[in-house]
């Protein structure tokens, strides 16, 4: 049974956000017998409400509160009102996610050492390495049921996958497969097996896909130690004279302000909202915002180099049939500066149903040429190119000087300029994907530059030294012992891999640290 805690109960751990980081942390702490209150801005949806409806579920899941954007990145021109794509509901962006679950590579934890100093980039090594995180990756994979790990079979290849793999083989690539996916190929751990419906991003109606909504939140509640409060948007984190955090102020479903006391606060609101909250919690003691003595809160925003290539064939592909993102080519993920850039990229399947494909293919586009591409819909294959982008101090989240949301909280601005390294990688990736599809007879390829950003990282980064970042090796803020960051904003570098498995592994590891420090009375 879900617990119910008093607003004045100052023994609880308050977790802000219930997505990949927050949902996992709640489950881990509750299982250790620690009381948690999860405050989630979005509402709680049940699986029965999910529909195979791209446009409808986008409207139902997405965080649509106002955000602005600036900088040279493509999204400022094509989607200025929605620069990033995250979710607002219990389960966070894991309800939408495609479930591609990859580990970071060893060198990606040590970018400053391995890449050297790069002009215009703010590179830093993570204070941890792959070896240290490996046991937690193991636990995350087992929890999420990641295919291709720990004896869990892989998903079968769809038509869309077969096309990708045939092109990869022809091009001489060797590392391609149906991806490590947090999707059950067969029933496992109380979850159904995948039915190849293809609507993974619209919320899996069979529960084959891992999300914190279906797995971690119910498990946490079942311990009797966790309470999840939906439609509760935190506006401020409060502290006492000594600088320790004491609780949070949030707006409840009715719009009334509430104050929840806390022994510890863990911030897991994602890489846009977490720095926004820290900056909005400034006080006379912390005029720059909480945990911001380094000045790094909100900086080093990373969103991956991304682009998509769609290829038109003579014969049917039906890219929408089957597990959406289950297919990957990993040959370009290596570090090889001979290609003209540092870092690497993955090539991952990206199918779209007709409504999203047609509406997003050519921003602002019209006329016969565009229509002829849509007319070929059944014969089209798509691959998403996703690679490491470099942290820059100037790519950052700031509070808007005058625009506020409905609770009076300043809205965030997302600033991003492409680094020359990102552009060099993008160019390479587009050419390779073109070659891949042309090698097996594509008549034409079409490039779609970045969609609103789905991978958001780095805005409260981890650092060995307090001067270089916001949190330490456990996600604990350097400045305030009982304040933690538990989401993707901890990332010191972005890696070339989708971020979520790493977020989950870090949260599992962080829970051990919090429990240990609590039992020693240190926090």
């Amino acid at each position: 049974m879900a617990a119910k805690f008093d607003l004045n109960d100052s023994s609880v751990v308050v977790i802000i956000g219930s997505g990949a980081g927050g949902g996992t942390l709640a489950n881990e702490l509750a299982r250790k017998g620690i009381s948690v209150v999860v405050l989630e801005a979005g509402r709680r949806m049940e699986m029965a409400e999910f529909k195979n409806d791209e446009i409808g579920m986008f409207g139902a899941f997405t965080w649509l509160d106002p955000r602005t954007t600036s900088g040279s990145w493509y999204v400022t021109k094509t989607s200025p009102d929605l620069p990033v794509w995250t979710c607002k509901l219990v389960g966070g962006t894991t309800v939408h996610w495609g479930a591609c679950a990859l580990r970071f590579q060893e060198h990606e934890f040590k970018t400053r050492t391995r890449y050297g100093a790069i002009a215009g980039a703010n590179l830093l090594d993570w204070p941890i390495d792959l070896k240290e995180l490996a046991p937690y990756y193991d636990r995350a994979e087992l929890r999420m049921g990641v295919t291709g790990t720990h004896g869990i079979p892989r998903l079968p290849a769809s038509n869309h996958g077969k096309v990708l793999f045939a092109g990869a083989k022809k091009l001489g690539y060797t590392k391609y497969e149906t991806t490590n996916m947090a999707i059950n190929p067969v029933p496992r751990d109380g979850r159904a097996g995948c039915q190849q419906t293809g609507f993974c991003v619209q919320g899996c109606t069979f529960g084959a896909k891992w999300s914190t909504l279906h797995i971690d939140i119910p498990q946490a509640e079942a311990t009797g130690k966790a309470e999840v409060r939906p439609e509760s948007q935190v506006l401020r984190i409060e502290h006492d004279a000594s600088g320790k955090v004491t609780g949070v102020v949030y707006a409840d479903a009715a719009g009334n302000l509430q104050r929840q006391k806390a022994r510890i606060v863990a911030l897991a609101a994602n890489s846009i909202e977490s720095p926004r909250l820290l900056l909005n919690s400034s006080s006379s003691k912390f005029p720059q915002g909480l945990a911001n003595s380094s000045g790094q809160v909100g900086k080093n925003y990373m969103r991956h180099m991304t682009s998509t290539v769609f290829a038109i064939f003579d014969k049917p592909v039906h890219m929408y049939r089957g597990t959406a993102q289950s297919g990957i080519v990993m040959d370009e993920a290596r570090l090889d500066t001979k290609r003209g850039f540092v870092g690497g990229y993955q090539m991952e399947l990206l199918p779209q149903g007709l409504p999203s494909f047609a509406t997003n293919l050519v921003p602002g586009g019209w006329g016969r040429d565009r229509a002829s591409i849509i007319d070929s819909y059944a014969n089209i294959a798509g691959v998403w190119l996703v690679g490491e982008d470099l942290p820059r101090e100037t790519n950052r989240i700031t509070l808007h000087p005058n625009r506020k949301d409905k609770f009076g909280m300043p809205i965030p601005n997302v600033h991003s300029d492409d680094h020359p390294n990102d552009l060099a990688m993008q160019k390479h990736a587009l050419a390779q994907a073109d070659a891949l599809y042309k090698s097996i007879g594509a008549k034409r390829t079409v490039h779609r530059l970045p969609f609103p950003s789905t991978h958001n990282m780095g805005t409260n980064r981890m650092s060995e030294k307090p001067a270089d970042g916001v949190v330490n090796r456990f996600g604990q803020t350097h400045d305030i012992k009982n304040l933690f960051v538990s989401d993707g904003s901890q990332f010191t570098s972005s890696g070339g891999e989708n971020p979520t498995l790493t977020i989950v592994a870090l949260a599992i590891r962080q829970a051990e640290h919090i429990a240990g420090q609590m039992s020693k009375g240190e926090i």
Binding site: K51, N52, D53, E54, I55, G56, M57, F58, G59, A60, T62, L64, P66, T78, S79, D81, L82, W85, A157, S158, N159, K162, V163, A166, C194, Q195, Q196, T197, G198, F199, F206, K315, P316, V317, H318, Y320, R321, G322, G353, L354, P355, S356, A358, T359, N360, P363, G364, W366, G367, R368, R370, A371, I374, D375, Y377, A378, N379, I440, F451, P452
Partner: protein, 178 residues
């Protein structure tokens, strides 16, 4: 400009959680305001001539010969409704249509919707591309056009599959031409 702006629009209008229902409602709204010219104009919104030109314009933006007019009529229905309720929308649409007409009258001696030569109409569109009228119509019709389930089979899209047990027994891996 597509899904992402469409969603932004929904949120600004305060539809937020009801996004699915709203779009479903849009999709079933019939071409009621695509009145035949004899019946004259709807009182406050676009008149029949303007509606006919708007439909032609959206067809030219998204020209699929395989689609009958009814699909485009459904795509413009939300805009027609908005023009009834909102006089600035009405003015924007009527003004844009007037510019298209003026342009084809000058180049071909006919109102936009009466010009048979597509290249003449396309040239008229190029003159207003990116302006307020173009952007509004483009952004507000693209999603309602392609989000009509009746239209999907014409593009080889089979759509929702959960109720049918997914594609696991319906061809997810039937590709045989490689």
């Amino acid at each position: 400009m597509g899904l992402f702006d469409w969603a932004g629009k929904l949120s600004r209008r305060g539809f937020l959680a009801g996004g699915a229902a709203t779009i479903a409602a849009v999709a079933v709204t019939g071409p009621t305001i695509l009145a035949d010219p004899q019946n004259g104009a709807a009182p406050a919104g676009l008149n029949a001539e303007e509606s006919r030109a708007l439909l032609k314009f959206v067809r030219d933006l998204f020209p699929h010969d395989r689609l009958e007019d009814v699909f485009y009529a459904k795509a413009i229905a939300p805009l027609q409704e908005e023009a009834v309720k909102n006089s600035s929308t009405r003015e924007l649409l009527a003004g844009g249509i007037a510019r298209l007409n003026a342009s084809t009258l000058a180049s071909a001696g006919k109102a936009y919707a009466d010009v048979a030569d597509e290249s003449v109409r396309v040239a008229a569109i190029k003159q207003i591309e990116g302006g307020a009228f173009f952007t509004k119509v483009h952004g507000d019709t693209i999603t309602p056009l392609y989000n009509q389930p009746d239209l999907w089979p014409k593009f080889g899209y089979e759509g929702p599959s959960s109720a049918l047990g997914g594609y696991i027994h319906r061809g997810f891996n039937d590709l045989d031409w490689l």
